[in-house]
Symmetry: D2
């Protein structure tokens, strides 16, 4: 299926595809077959190969060690990295590192960029974004954020209890969202503070056990529960302006929903590739499974829905250049999340018992995709936004001229 | 598929099935082929045959001219009559006549039974139940009922504007719901008044045009808009006790939802029978359509869902003998309404262009079934009841011991 | 929702929208309220207004009396005309007239254009395309076409039995597909012959009764069964080259599937507009229905799916400029057909009893949309094409390296 | 929801429910909270408590140490044990041990019962059923079974390569399906041979990694790949008659599909219980989530579908007493498998981020339930059986009288 991406976008995506097919997917396959986890050294080796191919950290400006692609040119490459369990990792474009780099690049000071961004891009250090809290803080309702950072001289004293902090187990520093002005509305009184892991008072409590928590790499970032107890850091560690934490976070999340869509659609595509190869290989009741129409037609629908998702995401990306494209992004996100879950579920079913086996990557994808209908705004939150938009500007003339049409939803008298 | 119905129920249903296959369906098929509507005289002829077979008005006590079957023994016969567009009509078990007979039999006076029930059973006269009103009256919220009947000496003066009055075009009398005590809550101050069609002030405004309004019989009952303007009737025309109108209506609707389920599942079953015969007959791309697995598997699912509906309805009927079975009936109704619509839609698709043609009954069924998700309580009303039940008695210990588990639906920080 | 259509396309669609909102929809609403059919004279009056607004026959070259728009510029206007039951008719862009005009314009001789195209564009005469046959001829398998035209001197002798001939009741001429060389493969030996209605041997047997056959205009074109019995017409009546009938038909159907998608998505959009206005107006259990979240969220999903359909159709239209875009069109068609049916079904449900009433256009749309999953290739035919495409070029390395992974779909031993 | 189970069935199920609520679920909750696996000693302690409550091994005859309940009396108890991750294990009714006990009890010799059944019931030893093979053997097509057992004097020489052997990691003996008469059809020439784990030539290759492979107990049985290389066992180790292996296996699977349905519906019910408690607890946008109608209605549908599944299963169980109930069981299985997966998925969504967290059991259930649409016959295998049944005895008169109704699925001429 061809799309109307820019020539640069297509060219890069083509090279990413080759890297995946030639290097990354074979390495993934080997790990699945042997059951031996991929070491940190091997990941670093993949990074070297990505550098040789001019694919390393594609979203990062060249001065900080990346390829300097803009958002829309990067987009189709995310479909390609999504095809492998370690695809995004292999080119250093994996969440949350990629978003944290983007944040530092956008609003970081020169000193912060030198001390943290440069080594972060190179993979010498790792980072985490600490937003979500137990007791509903840091979720959809900003008024419930409970973490605080109080200024004491030229230091912040940070007190926070965070969890679901992605990659938080191994992070060398945390970007902590905390209220810094309790009198202000949280939208005006929240800041992001960079806290080094080795500061006094930082405690990584545990890796929250979760669906999909058993990956194929040696060093799992996990989703951590982390406590910050009277941690002192210099005020220079503020990321962006004090009080602007929500604005920075929003910027960070900006196009991220669309890149997530692309990566998950890559997962779904790979799952279909495997399922189709499997159906061609296996036989039952006298023919290959490929010839059974019931599965063929369901695969046709899955391909159709994936195609729909991809056209929506590209439309939204184009709109995002001109506006906040809030509804277009919400529609793309909720649609893609559901379609990719259904597609991967179908692919798993096609492979029978081997579908739930972890010799193939599908069962891993199946675990990973389930989170997508929850993170970055649950389905229900996006439907809420879309519905609100849908009910703006309803044309009352559609009904007001027909006010005699007013029976109720329940018409017991209408029997047949 | 065998069910655990009583021997009487099976025996009668078997004879109804024969009547349908031997007489009623062939007559229906002829009407569809020729496009000529079935006359009232022919319907009366079918009644004679039903009498000869001891199947006429099976739900009515023998003393009033019926077969005297109780509810559960009657139930499987409704599946059989549902298989034909004129099935219920052919044995005088069609709504709303059947419900009106049941009402008169339950709460009518001897005089009312003699004057109205006897000829109604015999089909000498026709009736309608006038409940629903424009402006939301008579629907789900009883407080909005606007019709009134005021006592003046030994007469009621009825003022009412009704619509969606089924069979209201040709009715010889109406059972009108009206408020008779405006100071009381509607549940306590509403009565059902029998109003003859030829009373002064009764005006049949129109047949409300609607989906499925083009049947195959000469005399269409329609869904009428009817006005009652200062209509005077004697107080003896009260049906049941004054003030007990809602209680009587509820009794009338009682098991009706389950018989509706059975009839619609009969429609769905017949649709599948036709679709399967069609698929066996037609060829494309080298085989009969029957051999195409995609349609076969969808038919398998339709059969499965119909079977589920039938087991649920039977379970609910059994419960109904012991309790009000409110939730069991709501579940049966909403499930069956959706399953039968989907099944008929599938059957239509199987027949291609002929599916939408009215040479076959499927397109008629397709029109008829759409109302079922709305009448007798819309899907949404039943889901509301079921949800309320589901949230009673929630076991808080499931969560209270785990109060640390409290993140929000939206977890932006959980990225991968 | 904004799309990236051309400026011309947007400008015309904006004017079509105004025509619909100001003139066509109010006229439709009046017809629905009064139940009086729109006369042929009134339709002609709408044509005059469309001419005044430079919107008449937009797809026809200016020299033949239209607006001369190309395909992609015309596309978004079809969304607008789809919003009304008489929208396409009002600007003389309704099927099958529009396709027949397109055929005559593409391959007709100058004499044919003068005699038939000019008056056809002006609405002085009407036409029909006679392809489908009883006994499976003229359907998906060309080898089953049974109609013949045999050359006798300078005349064709046409023998054909056709049905589902749209607008065939009132047609002044028929474009008849018939085999003209029985020795050749049908793709090489079929021709399209223009047969005037008043030629000897033409018999319009009947209007095939069908779902949605009760419209709101006086003159219903219907789907006709037509017999051609030794009908003689001059060989100059061949449309395009003899033997090229299938190629001409394919050209005719070309972009038609996409314009159908647009019109049906317009229907679905209007249905949602009405449903939303209805939900804002009606109350139950203390709030307007608009505030009930269950329906809101389902409307959000419907909006999302409609949006997906529209982005797919636009993508396919752009591809169609460069290739046959067979799979893109198939995906767009099957997706849009299902989404619009589901959306209209939801809108109907939102309006309760009034949803099935024909005072509102939704029940009409509900009837009309059901054909869309069957005509222009049934869902199953398109899924078949998409599946075939999906299984081309499957990458066997996905499985071949993992040949130990080969258990069957049924794993009885895997118990838990 | 009340069902019409026997008094014994209800009484036992009530006591099982108490055991779950008072002992088993609290123990499960503790394991989830602490992340510490439940030890084998603790499981044995649960067995003691089950014995004290007369609930231990309910399906096993009293003479072998169980409670001696028959199938239908046992059934509702399986719903209760399904509510906990360790429920079936806690009363020694977990697959595959329970099925293996049943097999030995049915066809084992007195010596086999003494040596293997008695200690197996008591949990002193463990067992596995080795049927499925790589390369498609042992799956749906019996002709592909490749394992062999050749008689040599009074010994079998067993050669087999098995996988997906449930609980095969820790088994003390295997019941191995192998061909013992290569000249006979596999249905007549296959036997089940008991092979002790410590026999020469038995190699447990690995635990096949799979979805749901990370449980909460210390001793995971896993799904093992096992090789048998020239393993010699005495001919007395034949389980049942030689050559009757398939018949014994079928007997073993007999009612097993229905008990699986019950256990999974218990899982789904518990998931809903947790989701409802969670929705009552959590707030967003000003109300508890319980008050959001969108989720309420979806929960109502889930409750409805679960209820449908339970009525179907009970109907099938009753039929199973009188016939093989093949179609009833197939319908129950495919319906329940899909409904329970969807229900658990919904419950997970309701809990947001905590849904994918393993502090709650839902994510565990989510992993476990995915296998159910594959094991014991994949959805597709059951649909195949149901479709075959559905197309038996199609009434051709539905179409033969209407042979003029024969247009194709694709009707290009039917345009609108």
């Amino acid at each position: 299926m061809k799309y109307h991406d820019s020539e640069t976008a297509k060219e890069v995506a083509g090279r990413v595809e080759s890297f995946m097919d030639e290097v990354v997917i074979p390495r993934e396959r080997e790990a699945l077959e042997t059951g031996e986890r991929i070491t940190t050294g091997e990941i670093e080796d993949l990074w070297e190969q990505a550098k040789d191919r001019d694919l390393f950290a594609p979203q990062v400006p060249e001065e900080y060690g990346g390829q300097g692609l803009d958002f829309s040119d990067m987009l189709p490459s995310f479909e390609q990295v999504g095809r492998s369990l370690i695809g995004a990792l292999a080119i250093r474009a994996n969440a949350p590192q990629e978003g944290n780099m983007h944040t530092l690049e956008m609003v970081g000071t020169e000193a912060q960029k030198e001390e943290y961004l440069q080594p972060l891009v190179q993979g010498e250090i790792s980072s985490a974004f600490a937003m979500t809290e137990p007791k509903q803080g840091g979720g959809s309702d900003p008024k419930m954020l409970q973490s605080t950072a109080v200024k004491d001289g030229d230091e912040w004293i940070v007190n926070a209890h965070k969890w679901w902090t992605s990659d938080g187990l191994n992070a060398d520093f945390y970007l902590v969202m905390a209220r810094t002005d309790l009198d202000a509305h949280p939208y005006e009184g929240t800041s992001i503070i960079l806290v080094p892991r080795d500061a006094d008072g930082v405690e990584v409590v545990r890796n929250i056990p979760h669906l999909g928590g058993h990956g194929i790499t040696e060093r799992e970032g996990g989703h951590a529960e982390v406590k910050f107890d009277d941690v002192r850091v210099p005020v220079e560690n503020t990321i962006g302006e004090a009080g602007q934490g929500f604005q920075v976070a929003q910027m960070r999340l900006g196009g991220g929903r669309l890149t997530h869509c692309m990566r998950y659609s890559g997962m779904a595509e790979r799952s279909l590739e495997i399922a189709k190869a499997y159906l061609q290989e296996r036989e039952a009741f006298g023919t290959t499974l490929e010839e059974k129409q019931a599965l063929r037609h369901r695969i046709a629908d899955a391909e159709t829905h994936l195609h729909a998702a991809r056209t929506m995401v590209r439309h939204a990306a184009r709109e995002l250049d001109e506006s906040d494209a809030r509804i277009e992004v919400a529609m793309s996100k909720v649609f893609t999340a559901n379609v990719t879950q259904e597609t991967i579920d179908l692919a798993l079913q096609c492979c029978g018992g081997n579908g739930i086996g972890k010799d193939l990557p599908i069962a891993h994808f199946y675990e990973a995709v389930r989170a997508f209908r929850i993170v970055d705004g649950a389905d229900e939150v996006h439907r809420r936004s879309i519905a609100r938009w849908a009910f703006e500007d309803v044309d009352e003339t559609e009904i007001e001229n027909t006010l005699q049409f007013d029976d109720d939803l329940r018409i017991d008298a209408l029997e047949q």
